[in-house]
């Protein structure tokens, strides 16, 4: 084993210096963080003085766990192997020594390890400073703030009918967006969700004039920043260009520039003119020079100028990077105040502060905030640079060392937070000389993939280059890869070194590639395989290929883990379908939306019917759903019932006897059961909790029986939990609320221990698998949609951060405008992030990496088309094209005849309900209290049942009741309202009866034994009797005796013979009165299995077993 970066790794543990560590995939970053954390622990007075900030809760938990593990192992002196482990051990021992010396008791007090996510750290800060953070009191953060954003926007819209100045601005914006309130609403909601991006510039604290001046300044700066390098690049061609420019102007009859255009906004118009000389409309180098652009053909001078321009273009083409500079400049916008898009921006800058203020009011009225607000408040709590708050000063004393993980995915707020926490550290270090404070940030620019969540890799580069508040960070680059085999590492090095930009660029958020060195030598044959599919059934063939690859990987190595990593969820369904068909068990983390689960769709039908009993669609869907499954013929009779069928409630049709009689026999019997269940639901309306109500209705309808996939039951459980939540927050049965919640949830992932994992590339960050499959690389991310608003935060070359915002001005794609400039900029960032995303995916692989794609194919030219530039494939296309294995899949005959038409899925046979039973629904459904004959008897009976139930779970069975049973009996009796002497008497009766049962060696103990198969206590069942009436029954005890193979159904009784009654007479009497009931139980249990069924009564009080 060779570790190339050994020196960097040991340097990183120096507790007196601050570092920025670049840690590529598989470089053992977490281990390094832990080692440094341990090293720092050994230098501080209190463990809390070392603060580590992670990206996710999971990462925080893992880090805390591993630190504890290292300390515990050191404590117990567990054997450790390997160089790494020895380093960790030594550091842990030092930390332990410090622990012992200062009596920290870390091992029993894990919370003293200050490892937090940024969110929890911020929440902690705001709790310490409720007033400064402007929460006033305790507001809790919610994960689901969208509804509050909507409320804030609705508030804003209500301004329209007022005379407030913002009304005019809002009206102008609405009119610009075609008076489409929904669109603007959605847009503003999105703006609120990301207000941490703009509030600093257009926030509440700014007047519209300030905002306008700010934006003006930034745009001017931008123009200068972009034109200057271009101007410098062209300087030697200036005279020639100037001459050609003047020639063109004269021919076109437009004003010629007096001098070569300056690199600032004043020269912009001429620069644009200059661009038309060199580039075509679509942005390519100009190859034809003609009259329309001011260069007519003609002998002499005309031709001479045409040739001069052509020659110049040929020369300029050779200059590297010039084309890009020219293209960038073509979008540069004017800051002309009369310009329409500029006006829009001004309107927006007047509306946004009001919107943000509305949101604060909403937060206040609900006592809830979103995570951004917590972060913003945390910043407020620390105060700005001129006025650090007391909290800031106190914290300054609290933290001596800060470690931050995953810094490449930092957003501006987090960056700012770190900056404020480390104010004055440089000065402190310069003055004190000992007890130096250090900052340690770890990240990998190549793995920055959260741009869509405003993570900004520039911040990482900037921190690396400039440090914080003058506190410089030493740069360390890790290069070893402990994860992947040499074959994989080499391939990744070769492929991605050409896919990444050549140089880092802070302003652009551009990261270059650095090669890794594999620690694990060797690797399997053909470790990396690229496959291209084409032809009519390419999609199907690709999915099947992936299933084969999964199976191969599993058989090749029985321990192997396999992952299918897709860019988006929507790419996965065809693959999952094949995996299911081939019975390859997988776990799909957050892939399948809960709302799309068939079980949920069916449950929603129930909810809709219950919410609105006149909803024809819901009712007919109910009758078509699997539990009922009416044929279309029958459905038609019901749907077209009445004179104006569209206005008839379905329930009225169902109540019409002749109509019912006209249905098919099958339809009649199916409908009968569903109808009875719905009547039950109607009777129980508002009498049960939502969950009980709907879950029981679903069970009655045989809902669980028609769930196609096992995991469907787990999905249903999630749904019922939502109903509980609906009850607890008091929204009741609200479809929109439910749909909203469902949209944010995912179907049950399935077996978490499955060896095949299916997830998105983003989700896979930080994980590793033996075999990684990345499918469907040629798919474009999403159509290049036109967002209504764009913004961008970037750093200038001097490291100054700037913010830009533009509203869609409806301009053509290629025309110069701020919107188009930002659009272009965003596209560039997306392209670079695509490369990084694919890099993240490829580096998850330990030994095998498979990538597949369906690239476009030009039949006429017989070659593959260049993949769409927004596809992942585009990032590595040259390599892919060269190495790919082609699969041509035109053979349609191989396609199974998958008639995609949904057939009728339904339950085999619903329980039979006769019409008579329907007509005479059980009277007295209400919960009328009945007269209790003998309260003590009844209460004691209940308690005995509970105790016997509890005892049947205990193995081995006690010989007598102990304290535990006594207290349970006491609890049951008290909760039934008994007290005083009555309680004592009932209690002793219960004990007597239970003790008698436990003493009954032959039967009592046999009944309660844990050795039986399929045993159950107090089993609740619903059953229909011969007349078709539904009954709810509870079977006290049932089991299959393993010796005889007989299923026993036993009913407990606590009655006892009267003093002078012979036992036989008593038993006969009791048997007669319970025979029918127990026959019903027997009937109910026939469907449980093939075993012969025996029924019996057990008289607990006298320990007597009586078989019927």
């Amino acid at each position: 084993m060779r570790v190339a970066d050994v020196e960097a790794r040991s340097t990183a543990l120096d507790s007196t210096r601050s570092f920025c560590v670049s840690a590529p995939a598989g470089s053992g970053k977490t281990e390094l963080l832990i080692q440094r954390f341990l090293a720092l622990l050994a230098t501080v007075e209190r463990p809390e003085q070392v603060l580590a900030i992670t990206f996710t809760r999971k990462a925080a938990a893992e880090m805390r766990g591993r630190i504890m593990q290292a300390l515990a192992d050191a404590q117990q002196d567990v054997l450790c192997a390997g160089e790494h482990a020895r380093v960790t051990r030594a550091l842990a021992c030092e930390a332990l020594a410090m622990d012992g010396k200062n009596d920290w008791q870390l091992l029993s007090n894990i919370n003293r390890l200050n490892v937090k996510t940024i969110d929890s750290f911020c929440a902690g800060l705001t709790r310490q400073m409720p007033v400064l953070s402007r929460f006033g009191g305790q507001a809790s953060a919610t994960d689901d703030p969208e509804e509050m954003y909507y409320e804030a926007v609705r508030e804003l819209f209500s301004v329209l009918d007022s005379n407030r100045p913002a009304a005019e601005d809002l009206a102008a914006l609405l009119l610009h967006f075609d008076n489409n309130w929904d669109r603007l609403q959605a847009l503003l909601v999105a703006m609120l969700a990301r207000r941490d991006q703009w509030r600093e510039y257009i926030g509440i604290a700014h007047t519209p004039e300030e905002s306008e001046r700010y934006l003006q300044k930034v745009v001017r700066q931008l123009v200068v920043d972009l034109l200057s390098p271009l101007s410098a690049r062209l300087s030697i061609y200036e005279p020639e260009l100037f001459e050609l420019l003047c020639y063109q102007a004269r021919n076109l009859g437009i004003p010629a520039p007096a001098t070569f255009p300056a690199a600032d906004p004043s020269g912009l118009a001429h620069w644009r003119q200059l661009l038309t000389l060199l580039l075509t409309k679509s942005g390519g180098w100009r190859s034809r020079v003609d009259k329309s652009m001011g260069f007519p053909a003609g002998k002499g001078r005309a031709d001479e100028y045409r040739e001069r321009l052509t020659a110049l273009i040929v020369e300029l083409r050779e200059l590297e990077g010039l084309h890009e500079l020219l293209l960038d400049s073509s979008y540069l916008p004017d800051t002309d105040p009369d310009n329409q898009s500029w006006q829009l921006l001004i309107h927006l800058s007047r509306v946004l502060p009001l919107l943000a203020a509305n949101l604060l009011l909403v937060f206040q009225s609900r006592g809830l905030v979103d995570h951004s607000q917590v972060a913003l408040s945390a910043l407020d709590a620390l105060g700005d640079d001129e006025q650090p708050t007391e909290l800031a000063l106190r914290l300054d004393y609290t933290f001596e060392h800060i470690l931050v993980d995953e810094f490449q995915d930092t957003a501006i707020n987090q960056y700012e937070l770190i900056r404020r926490l480390t104010r004055g550290w440089r000065e402190h270090n310069e003055q004190s000389g000992n007890r130096l404070r250090t900052l340690f940030i770890v990240g990998d620019g190549m793995q920055s993939i959260y741009g869509f969540r405003d993570a900004n890799v520039s911040l990482f580069l900037q921190a690396r280059n400039h440090g914080f508040n003058g506190l410089q960070l030493e740069y360390l680059q890790l290069t070893s890869n402990f994860r992947s085999s040499t074959a994989v590492v080499d391939w990744v090095n070769d492929t991605f070194s050409s896919a990444f930009p050549e140089q880092d660029d802070v302003a652009r958020g551009q990261v270059s590639f650095s090669k890794a060195q594999a620690v694990n030598a060797g690797g399997v044959e053909a470790a990396v395989a690229l496959h291209a599919f084409r032809g009519e059934r390419a999609t199907q063939a690709e999915a099947e290929f992936i299933a084969d690859a999964v199976r191969n990987a599993l058989t090749e190595d029985p321990e192997a883990s396999v992952a299918v990593l897709a860019r988006t969820r929507s790419q996965l369904p065809p693959i999952l379908e094949v995996l299911r068909k081939q019975q390859l068990d997988y776990a799909a983390q957050d892939i399948e939306s809960l709302r799309d689960s068939p079980v949920i769709a069916d449950l929603l039908i129930l909810v809709r019917v219950l919410v609105n009993r006149f909803d024809r669609l819901a009712w007919l869907s109910l009758l078509r759903a699997p539990w009922c499954g009416l044929e279309l013929q029958d459905l038609l009779l019901i749907g077209s019932y009445g004179d104006s069928p569209g206005e008839q409630p379905i329930a009225r049709a169902l109540a019409d006897k002749p109509l019912r009689a006209s249905l098919s026999d099958d339809g009649q019997s199916r409908l009968a059961w569903t109808d009875q269940c719905m009547q039950w639901a109607e009777q129980q309306r508002d009498r049960l909790s939502l969950r009980e109500w709907i879950e029981e209705l679903w069970v009655r309808l045989c809902g669980p029986g028609v769930v196609a996939r096992e995991r469907g039951l787990a999905d249903a459980e999630r749904f019922f939990q939502l109903l509980e939540q609906a009850d607890s927050v008091g929204v009741g049965l609200d479809i929109h609320w439910l749909l909203n919640k469902l949209d944010k949830l995912y179907a049950d992932p399935g077996d978490n221990n499955a060896r095949v994992q299916v997830m998105t590339l983003h989700k896979a960050k930080g994980l590793e698998f033996d075999c990684v499959i990345i499918p469907d690389l040629a798919r474009r991310s999403r159509p290049d949609s036109r967002d209504l608003m764009l913004w961008d935060e970037h750093s200038t070359s001097q490291g100054q951060r700037q913010f830009l915002l533009a509203v869609d001005d409806h301009s053509k794609k290629e025309s110069p405008s701020l919107y188009n400039y930002l659009r272009q900029e965003r596209k560039r960032k997306t392209l670079m992030e695509n490369t990084r995303l694919l890099y993240v995916g490829a580096t998850r692989a330990v030994s095998r990496l498979i990538m597949t794609a369906i690239p476009g194919y030009d039949e006429a030219k017989e070659r593959y088309r260049e993949p769409g530039e927004l596809s992942l494939l585009a990032t590595i296309w040259p390599v892919f094209e060269q190495q790919m294995i082609e699969h041509v899949c035109d053979d349609m005959s191989a396609v199974e005849n998958t008639a995609a038409l949904p057939g009728l899925v339904r339950t085999a046979r619903p329980p039979v309900v006769t019409m008579e039973a329907l007509e005479a629904p059980e009277v007295n459904r209400g919960q009328v209290p009945r007269f209790a004959d003998n309260m003590i008897d009844r209460a004691a009976g209940t308690a005995v049942h509970r105790l016997l139930e509890a005892l049947a779970q205990i193995d081995p069975l006690p010989t007598k009741c102990d304290k535990q049973q006594r207290s349970l009996a006491d609890f049951v009796l008290r909760s039934l309202g008994l007290h005083g002497t009555v309680l004592t008497e009932a209690g002793s009766r219960v004990m007597e009866a239970v003790d008698a049962t436990l003493a009954d060696q032959e039967y009592g103990r046999w009944i309660l034994s844990s050795d039986h198969a399929q045993s159950a206590c107090e089993l609740r069942l619903s059953t229909a009797d011969d007349s078709g009436t539904a009954h709810d029954i509870v079977v006290d005890r049932t089991f299959v005796d393993c010796g005889t193979g007989v299923r026993w159904v036993i009913d407990y009784k606590t009655s006892r013979p009267a003093d002078d009654q012979p036992l036989t007479e008593f038993l006969a009497q009791e048997a007669a009165s319970y025979a029918e009931q127990l026959q019903g139980y027997r009937h109910a249990l026939t469907s449980f299995g093939e075993e012969p069924i025996e029924i019996a009564l057990y008289f607990a009080a006298i320990g007597c077993f009586h078989r019927l």
Binding site: A601, A708, H810, L901
Partner: protein
């Protein structure tokens, strides 16, 4: 279908359109009489805004009558007219709805309509051939075997040679490929053509959309830009028609077949394309998203 059921069937041209897009949808809507639940919108719904636009255009051509009426307007007069008909169109909005959406929304919608009409009139002004608007919101019916379909034609223009062109206002993106194939996506105009007393010389969508106003159509006369008369070229690969006459015959057959299928009870869940289900709303009934699972 029984004779009793036939008179109850409602739905005009949407019946044929639904049958074409997905037979089950036609079955559900027109025979089971179900409709999808409406969506909640922040202010005026797209449907409301569509009918406001129709109303305004109806009023507008009531005033202008013909191309001459349009061309003699000055810029100011046109502006005033657009503004007046827009305001009048808004008065057709139910008073409850007016209150619900608020005065500001109504005012903005009037403004938007005014400028949209202005944009649209620029397209009408660019038509070279003279025309008279001879029918507006014209009620008609067409018989397809036992089935009678009631229609409301947005507008019929009569050209100088007395030939007629049928126009349908649309605020969504429209294309003539929606008329082609055995199952045309939007057969509405084809039905109008079938119902017309004399054979129309062109069918066209008037796509009235902000920043994207244009005619889109087919016919034997190119009465406006965007109306194509090269039938073989326009239908290539999607229909076998050498000229306008043949195309119309073909359409007649397609429409009759769709009507027959509807009457015969053809109710397969068979959506025309991947987007067909997006705005349907009946998925809970047709269960298209939940086909039979293999490992049941």
């Amino acid at each position: 279908m029984s004779a009793d059921e036939l008179p109850v069937i409602r739905g005009g041209s949407s019946l044929i359109e639904n049958q074409s897009q997905c037979p089950f949808r036609a079955f559900a809507r027109h025979r089971l009489h179900v409709s999808a639940p409406g969506e909640l919108t922040a202010a005026l719904s797209p449907a409301e805004r569509g009918s406001l636009l129709h109303e305004a255009l109806y009023l507008l051509w009531g005033q202008l009558e013909d191309s001459e009426g349009l061309h003699k307007l000055t810029v100011e007069e046109e502006q005033q007219l657009c503004s007046a008909v827009s305001a009048e169109a808004l008065t057709t909005l139910d008073s409850d709805r007016r209150r619900a959406v608020g005065a500001a929304c109504v005012a903005l919608e009037t403004q938007r309509l005014t400028s949209l009409l202005g944009e649209w009139l620029a397209v009408e002004r660019s038509r070279e051939a003279e025309f008279r608007v001879t029918q507006r919101e014209h009620s008609q019916q067409v018989t397809l075997g036992p089935l009678t379909v009631k229609l409301q034609v947005d507008r019929i223009d009569t050209l100088a040679d007395e030939r007629q062109v049928i126009i349908d206002y649309k605020s969504s993106l429209s294309k003539v490929t929606d008329w082609l194939g055995e199952r045309p996506r939007r057969p509405q105009l084809l039905l109008y053509g079938l119902a017309a007393e004399s054979h129309p010389s062109a069918l066209a969508f008037a796509q009235v959309r902000t920043r994207d106003c244009q005619f889109v159509g087919l016919g034997e006369t190119e009465f406006a830009t965007g109306v194509a008369s090269d039938i073989p070229k326009a239908t290539r690969g999607r229909a076998e028609a050498a000229d306008w006459e043949q195309l119309n015959t073909l359409w007649g057959e397609h429409l009759q077949r769709l009507a027959d299928e509807f009457l015969a009870g053809q109710a397969d869940v068979d959506p025309l394309g991947p987007d067909t289900c997006t705005w349907c709303g009946l998925q809970s009934l047709c269960r298209v998203n939940h086909p039979v699972e293999v490992d049941a």
